[in-house]
Amino acid sequence: MLPELSHEEIHRYSRHLLIPDVGLEGQRKLKAASVLVVGTGGLGSPVALYLAAAGIGRIGLVDYDVVDFTNLQRQIIHSESRLGDLKVESARDRLQDLNSEIQVDIYNEYLNSENAFEISAPYDIIVDGTDNFPSRYLVNDLCVLTGKPNVYGSIYRFDGQASVFNAEGGPCYRCLFPEPPPPGLVPSCAEGGVLGVLPGTIGSIQATETLKLILGIGEPLIGRLLLYDALDLSFQTVKLQKNPDCKICGENPQVTQLIDYEEFCGIPACDHTSEEWDITASELSARLKAGAPMRLIDVREPHELEISRLEGAELIPLGQFASRLSELDSAEEIVLICKSGTRSARALEILASAGFKKVKNLKGGVNAWAVKVDPSLPIY
């Protein structure tokens, strides 16, 4: 039995009720529906806002993070007045301000194999608004094991992807990507950046697909992957097939329960992120002042050096690193620098594999340098 709509609700959702594909019955379906939004960041913001505005009866929000200043460029559910607050609380308050009729549940937790079944149990559909591979595989496997649709979206710089996985017998995320890339191979938005509006576009598509699934209308993005290129302004869809050998939804599934997704997504085979390879900003500053002959190599992209740079640092972008090794001498003491130490750790791995021993990674990157040594530099 679908819930009835009050007169106030009929008034509020008037523009939906006018569409024959939605109508009174459709709006009642939306009221009866429950959706779990995993992540209240770039994607989760527009997803949750539009689902709340559309009158989804029950929305769950999962996130463990707090609102950070750099989030505001794209995470439009949060605001300056909520900096430092829990994201789930900031998001819930915004949603309830938008629509006080709906139920919003919050989970200030990192979704993991231990809590995923319990958190997701009350919801019909799960929206993947996560930002890392372990969480994406977890959400996918959770959806397959519980038989729920996974409304997927992913973003990087100007590129977006969206699909509806594990619905109506269609393929799952693992059918397309059986394994994650090794850590560090694919740059993250924190390293590579993302256009602030991009998650708005992809998140709106995820919200649209969620509504279509609930209403049972149109052609959902099942068995199709949508590719959006904001620079070219092109939308393209490619066909996805169910993989009979898929480890979780194939004919002979090997994954029958949730696994350790951190492990599945790999720890660095050669862990040069350990402290022995690090040099702190203060140590580096002291050694440079003492006149130590050190070669500073900045592995960021050229345009990032306009934001901040260490005096005397030479540029070798990570993308060109392996082919420009001949410019470096293993007899020299080398310090690798990036924004916050992740890309320079990858460069260090390349150098270490090539036999370089006198290499250090500037811990925390140029941002740490700005905090500890040179406050005249901005942090980005």
């Binding site: 999962v62 930002d131 990087y156 710089r157 590129d159 992807q161 066909k239 990570l318 392996a322």
Partner: protein, 99 residues
Amino acid sequence: MPTLKIPTPLRPYTSGESTITLPGETVAEVLEALVERHPELKRHLLGDNGQLRPYVNLFLKEENVNQLQGLETPLTERDTLLIIPSIAGGKEHRRDHAP
């Protein structure tokens, strides 16, 4: 010659080029020409066994080449091959645990 469309995350390895026209009559030949021109792309696309990595997909006219003839799929002059990588978004540090 067939055209390859390079997604944003891989463009640092192609000096920023987004579409590249390369000689070759099969997917394998075009990929070979690609990694010859941009050697740093090789480890991103191909495993030690010379097969496509499991987190990279190639599509030709909406179809995954794995559903066609894999790396042996023939290409015509006018074909455009799409490289579709896994992208996860957001966090820099994998163990930051932030959705």
